[in-house]
Symmetry: D3
Subunit: 264 residues, 6 copies
Amino acid sequence: MRENNVRNIWAKGGAVINGWLGIPSSVAAENMAQAGWDSLTADLQHGLVDYQAAVGMFQAISTVPNTTPLARVPWLEPGIIMKLLDAGAMGIICPMINSRPECEAFVGACRYHPKGYRSFGPTRALWYNGGDYYKHSNDSVIAFAMIETKKAVEDLDNILSVPGLDAIYVGPADLAITYGVEPSGTPDNPIVVDAIKQIVAGARKHKVAAGIHCGSTAFAKQMIGLGFQFVTLMADNALLAGAAKSAVGDMRQGGGVKPGGGLY
Amino acid sequence: MRENNVRNIWAKGGAVINGWLGIPSSVAAENMAQAGWDSLTADLQHGLVDYQAAVGMFQAISTVPNTTPLARVPWLEPGIIMKLLDAGAMGIICPMINSRPECEAFVGACRYHPKGYRSFGPTRALWYNGGDYYKHSNDSVIAFAMIETKKAVEDLDNILSVPGLDAIYVGPADLAITYGVEPSGTPDNPIVVDAIKQIVAGARKHKVAAGIHCGSTAFAKQMIGLGFQFVTLMADNALLAGAAKSAVGDMRQGGGVKPGGGLY
Amino acid sequence: MRENNVRNIWAKGGAVINGWLGIPSSVAAENMAQAGWDSLTADLQHGLVDYQAAVGMFQAISTVPNTTPLARVPWLEPGIIMKLLDAGAMGIICPMINSRPECEAFVGACRYHPKGYRSFGPTRALWYNGGDYYKHSNDSVIAFAMIETKKAVEDLDNILSVPGLDAIYVGPADLAITYGVEPSGTPDNPIVVDAIKQIVAGARKHKVAAGIHCGSTAFAKQMIGLGFQFVTLMADNALLAGAAKSAVGDMRQGGGVKPGGGLY
Amino acid sequence: MRENNVRNIWAKGGAVINGWLGIPSSVAAENMAQAGWDSLTADLQHGLVDYQAAVGMFQAISTVPNTTPLARVPWLEPGIIMKLLDAGAMGIICPMINSRPECEAFVGACRYHPKGYRSFGPTRALWYNGGDYYKHSNDSVIAFAMIETKKAVEDLDNILSVPGLDAIYVGPADLAITYGVEPSGTPDNPIVVDAIKQIVAGARKHKVAAGIHCGSTAFAKQMIGLGFQFVTLMADNALLAGAAKSAVGDMRQGGGVKPGGGLY
Amino acid sequence: MRENNVRNIWAKGGAVINGWLGIPSSVAAENMAQAGWDSLTADLQHGLVDYQAAVGMFQAISTVPNTTPLARVPWLEPGIIMKLLDAGAMGIICPMINSRPECEAFVGACRYHPKGYRSFGPTRALWYNGGDYYKHSNDSVIAFAMIETKKAVEDLDNILSVPGLDAIYVGPADLAITYGVEPSGTPDNPIVVDAIKQIVAGARKHKVAAGIHCGSTAFAKQMIGLGFQFVTLMADNALLAGAAKSAVGDMRQGGGVKPGGGLY
Amino acid sequence: MRENNVRNIWAKGGAVINGWLGIPSSVAAENMAQAGWDSLTADLQHGLVDYQAAVGMFQAISTVPNTTPLARVPWLEPGIIMKLLDAGAMGIICPMINSRPECEAFVGACRYHPKGYRSFGPTRALWYNGGDYYKHSNDSVIAFAMIETKKAVEDLDNILSVPGLDAIYVGPADLAITYGVEPSGTPDNPIVVDAIKQIVAGARKHKVAAGIHCGSTAFAKQMIGLGFQFVTLMADNALLAGAAKSAVGDMRQGGGVKPGGGLY
């Protein structure tokens, strides 16, 4: 069984630098995989990515040795969770886990009997991990429940105490919205920051790893300072748009080239 | 007939800021198209892009109003040149034009009789440009011959005087190689710089627009200073890789998070 | 925020001419988009279309300025509803809404808190609509509940009074079947016609817009006469098959060319 | 060996009704295949279709028993001609055959030694035709040289006498252009009509079958009257656009629904 | 209406030899279809196959006359069940049917009113079956409930007595796991064998056909001996891997070629 | 620079066991890559594989450490040769090299100046090989000229003495055809066997490695015995078809299950 790099980093007390894939292309994914992320997550929720594209993206990630492939699913729906695990995702991030039964349903979908109700039939997961996948997968695959609503924060202990839950993942934008605050990738509103602190404290209490979506490296470092062990930096599409706008902007500014003409 | 934004900028004496697409994905292309480029070129030569992907990428570019779709073809082969024009490319960049007959063959592939031998059957080009495409396309479509070898520089006047040639495009890396210099996206070797200057001077003499591939905005500005009217900034995959590596590097540096653990 | 053309037409008291896309191809979609529809719906239920194909189809629709992209989802499943909204659908048609709780679950999936439980993370929706999407999307995105069973007709007031429901959409074939009548695209059975009239009357009473699937332009005009404000004409595959059969039929008939020979 | 339906119709003295596929979708192709064409041609020249899409389209055509799959290649390039034959095309239409050497090169690419230089390795062609494909393919596969320029008409006897040439195919639009006439799908300019008549007469003289691209069923019938044995009706994208525009136009006309409102 | 080959074989008292498709490729599917299977199942659960790939695979199966296309869905989710039926699947295998309500929900998704709640809109199913599909599909489409857990075995009579259930399908690996036994494709553990025998006996009692997943032809023959009427042999990916490993192994063994050199 | 496994084996005096990929699927390719081949060749000539599919297939091969990715191109066309090299092919097999100028044109397309005319712009080749690709690629990339006609055998010395030619590759089927013999994957006709022996002797004389396409492991072993250092075993589609037919055949034979019924 191939080692799960995310679990290894956690075991050493480190924090995982996670990249995020919203472009449905194995080429963009391999491109991203050159950057040395600890893990890369195919985002099937808000990314423009479907299952079949994700398979190619997992293959692309597998061309580099030490980046763990993860996936965020569109919703708590067992079909897609299990399909992504069979395709080689070594962890699943599930949005909108707002109650204990939802958390139980999610964790169960990630585990074979008797720890869950996952159906057996790994295919690419076997190619990626080796022939002893069945024996070790319940201990290797990581279940991340997204805590991203006021309701979930209020029910935190109940959710975090579900047996087999490995980690939580904070979506700051949805969290803000449910507290009546405008969404942001780098939230500084005290209400939101306070909720984030509650979540990380709860995770620590239940010995559950804490991850969070971050809109900048500065915010990510701040979150590691708060105790998060898994930080996601901007998605590929955000990185690409940022770099492109910056290049175009640099050309246009300061006596540069205006759209539609005007010499430098 | 839709106006060709590149020709408009040239008519006003401006320089075109061109983006470059090497990721075979209409989503990455639409993402790039948000950045306000004057034109975007699907690269079917060194990009990981084939014809069918390019069609989707042209559709993506067409979702924004003022960015002209161009394509670089893999080689001087009439089939792919004409297919891309029919798919809506408003200009073709053709690699390795090293002689006058090659330049004539290239220009002819971009024009209907009597100016060339392009076969008639626009499909998406009609959707994009309107019903009078036949009447205006010979004057709208731009033929860019790549001048990128010592041999081509030595035969420059012959190549540049081919009737109907609109523009040339410099590939500094191949140019360097054929002069025995290591390839670079921002060449500063005097031999290469001198060849570039010869090319732009020749273009000016023949009233042919001059374009060049650039590895940085600083180099692009320098090239506009030399008289280039069309500068390409780094390809989407280079922009994405740069941004990703920068984000990961920022996290890892200065007491940051090391791969495989080590707390921030 | 880009204006929603469907809402604009309704605001002016007009009826929307909607096209239907069942061929999973961005090229077929752009081809359809040339015809000047007010809106075009990617059909992920009975069309041969999946999410990834729909993304390309939305890009194709976005190449024309005034046609609003909509989608019909396969079923009341939150994952796909939210994915399509993030991909830029400006309205969702959801099949088989047969009860008030189903209608509430559907409307909630289309709206951010506090009006619903949609998760935040527009990507292509931002590209298409602009940076203020979050602020306006709850008011722009249209939720169409399909009323297409006897059970739904019997519970019409309960369903139509769900807050935030913008529109209903009649599927005459399923409606017929649940009344024990053979399905038809242009129903004239009095039982079915009577049910359609009940639905449009209910919609009017609850100030909910009424849409319907139509098998001919004649039937569509008749439905507008009944008060429908949104009529779908035949799907692309039906239009194409009709045109092809008509062309072949014309060649074969009246002394024409028989399959397998026989001169004209 | 499966019989080639096109050859069978010709043997009986009949004319082939050929459909044309420019939408790169196996679904659109299967949709078209329902209409009962004698043959269907995947157009890799002006259609928006590449090799990989064509494979799926050939599979779609193979779901019906009596429609022969053909392909038009982008240009006289041996690679794509042979790939399409291996994929199961039972005939190749090659554009712009303007000289005897071009015709010889084309015919040779379609035949195994000693009649040509096609490389051996049918794959899907074997699945489609059966295990004796090698033995019969040289006699079954049809080579159609496009005669579509003034130059080709002037050299007609030389071209048509190339051994192994089965058929010619007229592209009336390119033909018109090279005679200085505006392109049309239903040409009536006497210069063009006269050239067409010369071509069909030459074909008859050399016992080569004559085919032509037609913009309407009326024109197709007229061409059969002139002696053509193979007529192509409008491409799928033209049929679809025509049907869609007709449906929208019908809704908008005569007090109908205007874009942007206005009740019927 | 095209006859359902699986039902025909059952009517004659025969056993169906079913192939299994886990490679998301219409080419691999057509390749498999050359082997003369009675039916071929696109596996959207553990196969690496999504809906859009399955459409192409069904087209590939339709190129041969007597192999019935089936699909296994990822989970009991109505959207994907109905989409696959509309795409031409003539039977659905649904995993993890562990209770009577689950079985009822599954069977209902496969049938039009009044036998179920399937929504009407066949598209490819019409092309494949003909215009009278609506009239006959409730009697032709086969609903296979997977019995693959201890819980399901314990509730067997309740599940098997659901009206309209045509067949059950045993997944021996999941069955083993839920009995605490290691999964195997050719189970010989008495606990598992006994459970299998209970299932086939129950099926016989309720006049429901019994199918099973088999890891070898020997096991498949044994299962037919037990009374199974539908046996699946190894998936395409298992067949391909087996053949490839066998070829490589043969080359390397017995003084053969070692990886990294060593002459034969 | 990553080491080229094929060159390593040759340096050690070993023979390379090469697999062959004709199914256009990254999943089938990864499946094949599990079998431990020394190299895997994406076949863009007779395989059903285009450039874009090949990119995904190269990614799939890169998920395993010691299998070198190669490609066979459709024809001696520079565009596709260079595209595949940029995509990461570490060797190119080019069909139908029948003369010295053809061989020179082929070898030149694989090498940067001054050894050839390959254009610079590796993308995926850099990801796969590392940043020093330019420095080492001329020495790592392998150029295999296919010797597969009587004409080529007659001109063998001229072809084999082209500087930079690394290897030849025999296509026994085309070779047989040009000698007037029926094509076979395991030729035993003395004329063909004699030609094969001439080729391997010529290769040895010119210190060019010799490879050959083999229809069985027995034939491959025989060829290694003759001095071949590179043997290809059956393509994935042949392996899959063989395994499937064998499984079905086993079920049907000896009182087994007949198609259409008949109990075992």
